[in-house]
Amino acid sequence: MTTLAEGTAVRRPAEYVARAAGESRPMGYLIGAVCVAISALMLAPLVLSLLASIKPPAEAHEVPPNYLPRGITFDNYLKVFDFQAGFATYLGNSLLVAALTIVLCLLLAVPAGYGLARFRIPFKEGWFILLLAPLMIPYQALLTPLYLTFSQEVFGMRLANTHLALAVVHTILQLPFSIYLMRNSFESIPRELEEAAKVDGSNSFQMLRSIFLPLVIPGIVTVALFAFITSWNEFLSALIFMSKESNFTVPIMLVSVRAGRLGAVDWGALQAGVVLSILPCVLIYVLLQKYYVAGFLNGAVK
């Protein structure tokens, strides 16, 4: 932090912006204003959700809506917390499935990306395109056959209605993108490092563990973050694959808690659920932000 005691003049925010952009002070103000406007635009839905979530039920249903609450209540949050199996159950299920999805995605995407980026494989590009091909198939079409397969007993066990089954489905959805990201991450590492490791006598596994993995951490974090968000938000397969209230995830609860007769929506409960459900996403995003940006840029410039 800059202080006068350190002998540094206090600068206005516009000067910092201007200096950072290499522009004059008026231009700094302009850039600052644009940044504030964009931030306001992005924050508006979140703020409106928060405000709607603390309105009394009668006020939350008003048509047209009144944006600023006249009274404040936490009844909507209580409704969400007490809904059927309780919010903690849905939250726990979502976190467990998301964690399993992250683990499965990384277990498959890291070796696949490493192989595609660093090994000579016949028809490598063809294999890569084949791995990306599932992106072109609407996943809804896969759900029923997958569900029927998971419902069959294998070694006395049935995967249907388990968190693992749902995590496998979410991994299937997320894997093409994860492999794409990991391949770019591995490709962005200079070949000289690999050659130096070879000269030192490292085999492929040692190189992956000691040289590559520390350098592709941003890519790994990005894959994990996307896997988390995909799993966290996914609704349809969670509904199909889970058959008990105690196994349901947050998105299913959100759809049920808002339901009124004939499609009527309980706006207050819905917004309270939205606010609660975005908190983990925001928290994880903020914590991992620097890796996320770096990981996304991997392979963008060669």
Binding site: H61, V63, T144, L148, I240, R261, L262, G263, V265
Partner: protein, 416 residues
């Protein structure tokens, strides 16, 4: 895992002893799926059962519009609940698809089943066999704002008895207050309008949905008259502009603003208005037809059935029979201000303090429900012929063209 021999022996002895005691049995846990919007009502019944039975029931709430997908996939995989409660309108499709267990032998002989509202009995019958019964019913009614009636010089105890009167009253309400509108309906919601506008059509004799390719579709007195009335009110600003885009999300909320004179709604609105808007003085009445005395209603709500493959079908059937008893109907439903599915219990001790409930419960007896396959395609879907007809007639003004278009599409769907 290594378990000491002594403990193993004790465990085996304990299990054997319990199993050998005469009359010892292990209580079962039944699973029931109910659609989200009816889950509160279902929960009251389940709580009452659980309080008095060793075998317990666990409720799982399924989002309303996912029930068809969920049940179909679960029956295919064999992973079904023991009981299922869903919108009665899907009964014909589910019965024809073979998703439900035939309950005729037990339920047909149950004296309480004979007292269930006729609409539930009709909808739960397929090729002479019975597959379910009423569980948590609801019924459509005309909701009106008594304060706005007074302001317009109308008698708040005399709701409209014909659609002609309804339009006349709506115009007077609009003229009496620039902020008030005479009538409201959710213009982009097929389900809302089959529930609230259709009874005004069939009250006058119309047949709306064909059950076969050559069956009558949108025919008879009432269809054109109701659509024309709605169009005239829309054209003259008696209905608020927001009605056109309302997908049902504001079906309840708009009347709660206190600026709507009349609206087709359901019995569920009584409890919601009393709880959230005690300041609104409202009345309810049967939905009127073209001529006086033509009133009718849509009997909606949920049926209860046993899906094929239920692992506790006998126990599930016990619950179904139990929920039709006086005790369950009165203490599980009426006590919680939910309509009983038995017409003979419409006038009960719990509704005495609120005559509006009695009127609503009696409407269950006079109302009906269309028996149609592919109801979702015909009515609920975004591009359904029912909704397209309504929108084309009311908002575009082409009433005859809208009816003709709907007749053709409805018959082609019924032929599938």
């Amino acid at each position: 895992m290594n378990v000491p021999k002594r403990w193993r022996a004790i465990a085996i002895a304990a299990i054997s002893t319990v199993a050998l005691i005469p009359g010892t049995s292990f209580a079962a846990t039944l699973s029931i799926w109910a659609r989200a919007s009816s889950s509160n009502a279902a929960q009251h019944m389940i709580d009452l059962w659980n309080a008095s039975h060793d075998d317990k029931i666990e409720l799982t709430t399924i989002p309303d519009n996912q029930m068809v997908t969920k049940l179909a996939t679960s029956v295919q995989s064999g992973d079904v609940p023991d009981l299922i409660s869903f919108d009665l309108i899907f009964m014909p499709d589910f019965m024809r698809a073979g998703l439900l267990t035939d309950l005729t032998d037990v339920l047909g002989a149950d004296p309480n089943q004979a007292k269930v509202a006729q609409a539930f009995k009709d909808l739960a019958t397929y090729e002479g066999r019975l597959y379910g019964t009423g569980f948590t019913p609801d019924v459509s009614i005309l909701l009106y704002n008594k304060d706005l009636f007074r302001k317009a010089g109308l008698d708040p105890e005399q709701p409209p008895k014909t659609i002609g009167q309804l339009e006349d009253f709506a115009r007077k309400i609009r003229a009496s207050d620039p902020n008030a509108y005479g009538y409201y309906f959710s213009g982009s919601c097929g389900g809302c309008n089959i529930f609230t506008q259709a009874p005004m059509m069939w009250a006058s004799g119309a047949t709306l949905l064909p059950s076969s390719a050559d069956g009558p579709a949108m025919e008879g007195t009432g269809v054109k008259e109701v659509l024309t009335m709605l169009h005239n009110m829309w054209k003259d600003g008696i209905i608020p502009e927001s009605a056109e885009a309302d997908t049902g999300a504001n079906f309840q909320a708009t009347f709660e603003t206190g600026t709507i004179g009349m609206q087709g709604s359901g019995g569920f609105a009584i409890a919601a208005l009393k709880a959230n808007h005690p300041e609104i003085d409202f009345g309810i009445a049967p939905l009127p037809g073209v001529n006086e005395g033509d009133a009718s209603s849509f009997v909606g709500g949920d049926v209860i059935a046993v899906p094929k493959g239920s692992k506790n079908a006998d126990l599930a059937l016990q619950f179904i029979q139990w929920q039709l008893t006086d005790d369950a109907q009165l203490n599980g439903l009426a006590k919680n201000l939910i309509l009983p599915s038995r017409s003979d219990l419409a006038d009960n001790e719990f509704f005495k303090a609120e005559p509006r409930y009695v009127t609503t419960a009696q409407a269950v007896g006079i109302g009906k429900t269309p028996y149609a396959f592919h109801f979702n395609d015909m009515v609920n879907a975004d591009q359904s012929p029912w909704l397209t007809m309504l929108q084309t007639a009311v908002f575009d003004g082409d009433v005859d063209g809208a009816i003709a278009g709907a007749q053709e599409t409805l018959r082609s769907i019924a032929a599938q």
